[in-house]
Amino acid sequence: MATPKAFQLDTALPLGIRTEEAASIWQDAVQAAGTIVERSYRIGDIVICLQFAGETLVPQLTRALDHLPKASGEAAAFTLKIWDATTTGTAFPAFTMPEIQPLGNPRYLLRKADRLAMFQPVDGTLSILDHAHDQGYFWVTDKSRLSYGEEAAPFRFLLGTWLASRGLYLVHAAAVGTVSGGVLLVGKSGSGKSTAALSCLGSTLGYASDDNVLVSPGPQPMVYSLFNAGKLRPDNIDRFAHLVSRIPAEDISLEDKTLMFVDEHDPRQILLQCPLRAILVARYVGRRESALRPASPVEAMIALAPSTIFQLPGSGQSILDVTKHLVEQVPTYHFEGGSDLATIPASLLTLLRQLEKPSA
């Protein structure tokens, strides 16, 4: 096996837009791994293809996507090449800290007209999107560096950015419903979106997301599932014991959220897509029963747009435009999820039935 070339960081040229170099490193990674493992998925009418250099990253980065219809052998509209530095022996670019000392988990975003890149030094990941060729690259130093967030929403930045160019916008929302229609649950962290979505498991409502879902605007806005992960807060472990029972004990956290995959729990509960019927601004007020009351479109937009924008760097004005369209196209409500979780799917089902009735 030939020794792979090390990636030479040349700061005279912008990092991340040198897609030719990324392609070359990818070839080295494939050569080192000895094989390409492919996973192709269909999202609505779009086929995306994930190509992994070897098996190393496949288990962690496909569980959240495995509920999507498989599209093996179909021509892909977007191809994403994925590898890790450790397994393939490819060197990761040296990271020089800028003069300002970043806090937390900084994301460094470099944008050009037809390509962009995001570097997350704490996670050890580099994502490159080549719009011109409808392909992307995802590079991580080592599989042990993959964050909880990356496993729950793999390649969120790359997929979210590219899919937006095809009219599918990734928003910060939970989504449940039936094939006849569904709702978005929006609101800041802790508002009860995830709890509401997970409480619908076991009901006649399907689950599209508890945190990130795709929407397409239009005369009839549509919702599309992208990730089937669900996240359980420590204080919800007991309430959702039936969901936790299949999770290995070592994966259950009492300090942070526990990750579960709805497709592994019960694939029949997955809702792949549905027409959007309403947007609900979620909040928990401590009452036993769930309740709905009208919300203004601007209230729904405030609950949806800012968090979406901040979670997906570069999404910007398009998200404001899309969310404005959505809140003007469908009714908007405040949703107060009850402490009696059974009342949540019941109230959402009642709402959907009312909205699906033809007007008199």
């Binding site: 960081l9 912008p14 991340g16 670019p93 020089t96 470099l110 405030i302 924008i309 979670q311």
Partner: protein
């Protein structure tokens, strides 16, 4: 010098007569309603301060003095929040779009403008900040706005 929208750091969208503004740098977002949304709309069109006061006076039942004080206050607050910046550019020569009026053209009841501010996303920006890399200089050089 006049105050203009700080387009390098913010996004905004008008919906139903209200304006939602997102400050990408600080993680703060805002809702402007009624007269406050009108002030923003006029600023966004490059209208000078005195004409903003005059235009509001044509729309709202309020004294010129109170409008003048409120416009001054709001402009100061918007600038303090980083949503407006000083500019040496001249105002646009084209007339601004008229504010929406009621069907019977009667003046509207006036409520002093208020900026509704939301800071719940600031922690996210602090913990997971986004730094834009200078596209000409490349890594690790950040854009000056960072």
């Amino acid at each position: 010098m006049r105050l203009v929208v700080n387009r390098s750091n913010i996004l905004h969208q008008m919906i139903g007569g209200e304006t939602v503004i997102v400050n990408l740098t600080t993680g703060t977002y805002y809702s402007l309603r009624y007269s406050c949304a009108d002030i923003w709309s006029l600023i966004e069109q490059g209208v000078q301060r005195n004409l903003i006061v005059q235009t509001l006076g044509e729309r709202y039942e309020a004294s010129a003095e109170s409008l003048d004080q409120d416009v001054t206050r709001i402009l100061e607050e918007l600038e303090k929040e980083g949503l407006l910046v000083a500019s040496a550019e001249d105002s646009p020569s084209t007339p601004h779009e008229p504010l929406q009026t009621s069907s019977d053209s009667a003046k509207l009841q006036y409520t002093p403008p208020q900026i509704e501010k939301f800071e719940d996303m600031q922690d996210l920006i602090l913990l997971d900040p986004i730094h834009e890399v200078d596209e000409d200089e490349g890594w690790p050089h950040l854009k000056p706005s960072n």
